[in-house]
């Protein structure tokens, strides 16, 4: 018996030792020769860019009536070139200039009844994006002058305090997030002291949103215009001294949490009719806001509050004030997975029932939810993302969209992106009218 026990112990420790030695052999196997790594050198000028080919296919539209635009099938064959030049002027100053140009061949290859406005808006474009100089004028003060983007707020999916830059709203849910905000020309001064940063902006350029083309599948104006009525031209306020916009923020970053206060007088993101409905324009709004986030374990909690006044509407002559509130959370405790949920509530003071009508389509109390799930795989070669955003009025769904897409790096230079977007109809007439815009999309990019 004792002998058996001894043999068993000996065998078991031998097996353990064998297994351990076997595991150790893993160090010796599979020697790999790595590619020659090019050392990145400090250069005065660095050029980078991308060439992107994108397409989309609409699958939910009905056949058009005779003489109208057929929105079915292939709806985009777009080539976009981005070029960006970063320059180091000296130890303290640097500059950047970025240009973007695109051409969508669908408007010349597909035999269709595209309106002039659609062709003008979607067929081609050349633009200077960000163009600025940035530097330090003392140890604590930075100055940035030029066309730039300033992102306010802590939330990722729903914009509450993010009021500085107008948006590219030409194709809801289809514009890449990096192209969503339109840079504006401003002078920005930042003062840093300990954990705090005070940022003052004087915005010289009156730039407004890029809206969907009149009569396009993203702006079916017939829903609020009388038959044969002309959609009034939009007039961007001149970039004069009188139209200068101002913004101020105070940002603190602390152990485990961040806090920001915001105040601004900026152009409204929405237009209103003027000149007896013969034209449309944008006026100034005043905003006051606060945002914070707190990291607790694998959770990031976000909250934002915004008070906005001097909002103009089309369905009432009175200016209104609005209060926006957001709560959100992001969870990153599951390997390779990130979950985020944001809920916002918008409340209009002195609401009038007429405001529910198009083109305002505004509710007294409107809630928005955004759910995002991102999963990265193959060592971040690929990222699969699902985004769902919905608008509610009480318990009624006013509309929204859901989108799922896969981004995959073929190698260090090429990436592909494929997905589908589903527009959800509801009580809000402007959202319900685009609920048939569902489409597949695919694009390939070469980054250099």
């Amino acid at each position: 018996m004792r002998l058996l026990l001894l043999t068993l112990i000996a065998t078991s420790s031998l097996t353990y030792a064998d297994e351990f030695e076997d595991d150790l052999s893993g160090f010796e196997e599979d020697s790999i020769t790595i590619v020659k790594i090019e050392q990145i050198k400090d250069r005065t000028h660095q050029l980078k860019g991308s060439l992107n080919l994108s397409s989309s296919y609409n699958y939910a539209h009905n056949a058009p009536t005779l003489g109208n635009t057929d929105f079915r099938g292939l709806s985009r064959l777009k080539t976009t070139l981005d070029l960006s030049l970063d320059s180091k002027l000296n130890d303290k100053w640097k500059s950047k200039i970025e240009i973007q140009a695109f051409y969508d061949a669908i408007y010349s290859t597909k035999n269709n009844f595209y309106t002039n406005d659609m062709v003008k808006t979607y067929e081609s474009e050349f633009e200077i994006q960000e163009a600025y100089i940035l530097g330090s004028i003392s140890d604590n003060i930075d100055l940035k002058i030029g066309r730039q983007i300033v992102v306010w707020g802590k939330s990722d999916n729903i914009r509450i305090n993010d009021v500085i830059n107008p948006l590219d709203n030409r194709e809801l849910a289809m514009v890449d997030i990096e192209d969503l905000r339109l840079p504006v020309f401003m002078s920005k001064l930042d003062y840093y002291s300990g954990a705090w940063n005070l940022s003052a902006m004087i915005i010289h350029e009156s730039r407004v949103q890029k809206e969907a083309a009149n009569g396009s599948d993203y702006l079916p104006t017939h829903i609020f215009l009388k038959p044969n009525a002309i959609f009034p031209e939009d007039i961007t306020p001149d970039s004069t001294l009188n139209n200068t916009q101002y913004a101020l923020s105070l940002n603190g970053r602390f152990t485990g949490w961040d806090l920001s206060f915001y105040g601004a007088k900026v152009l409204d993101s929405k237009w209103h009719f003027v000149d007896n409905k013969k034209s449309r324009t944008y006026d100034f709004v005043k905003t006051l806001g606060v945002a914070s986030n707190i990291a607790i374990g694998n959770f990031l909690f976000t909250s934002e509050l915004l008070y906005m006044q001097d909002l103009k509407f089309n369905t009432t002559a009175d200016e209104k004030s609005r209060l926006d509130f957001l709560l959100g959370t992001e969870y990153s405790g599951i390997t390779d997975l990130t979950l985020s949920l944001e809920v916002s509530q918008r409340y209009i003071f002195d609401y009038e029932v007429s405001m529910v009508n198009a083109p305002d389509s505004t509710y007294k109390d409107e809630r928005q939810t955004a759910l995002r799930v991102s999963y990265s795989f193959e060592h971040e070669k690929g990222m699969l993302t699902y985004l769902n955003t919905l608008f509610y009025d009480n318990s009624n769904i006013n509309g929204g969209f859901q989108r799922v897409w896969l981004n995959y790096d073929l190698n260090d230079n090429f990436e592909v992106n494929i997905g589908v977007v589903d527009y959800i109809g509801g009580d809000k007439i402007v959202l319900d009218a685009i609920s048939n815009n569902d489409r597949f999309f695919a694009d390939i990019s070469y980054n250099f």
Partner: protein
Amino acid sequence: MNKIVLTLLTISSLVFAMDVNEIVQKVDTRDDGDNIISNMSMVLIDKANKQRVRSMRTFTKDFGVDTHKTIFFLAPSDVKNTAFLTYDYDDDNKDDDQWLYLPALKKTKRIASTDKSGSFMGSDFSYSDMTKPDLTDYTYKIVKEKKVDKHNTWIIERLPKTEAIVDETGYKKSYIFVRQDNFVVVRAMHYLDDGKKKYMNVKKLEKIEGIWIATEIEMKTTKNKKRLHSTILQFSDVKLNQKLNKNQFSVRQLEKGI
């Protein structure tokens, strides 16, 4: 001759006499440099040997017992100017502060994650591999001695004391190879819950300004003896004792870039 033998015997008995806790203490307190600037290349190699390269510049500074680190991505083009800032607190009860600047969004985002088992920027290294472990979280045992690249090492078994540490790091057991002449961990073998094993191998160790620095490290993930993926980190232009101030480890610097 007798003197040499005696000296050798003395050294040898001293080495053997070292308690495992003394060894890991020496590993932990070994001078690994401060105020460091270096270029880091990360080569990600899949099982078909297809390789992707990411180039970064890193800045590291100790603030007392805490370490602040900034990483700026230089290449490839689609991640250029992305920057990562971390305040690694020594205090276990305090979560690290982490911010990520995303140039495409023009936004600095706070990252909340106490789960350090996740991949460090898509590599085979986890966030826990990139930070010093807390000695009190583990029990240690010398298993054997072995020569690695002609140098004597102790192979030390490292077992997490709690399930929480296993969850946090992803490792249920590790063997670390400590070089006997300089207390550098030159190899490690980690056992994961899903049957995978990870092999860390210091392929190049250099003495820079009197400090031992690993300038090429491989981490290989395997399952059933098959390599699934591996990552090679190469450090170049390593400069120690640089004039780094607090401002260089701030969101301001992340957004301004290098």
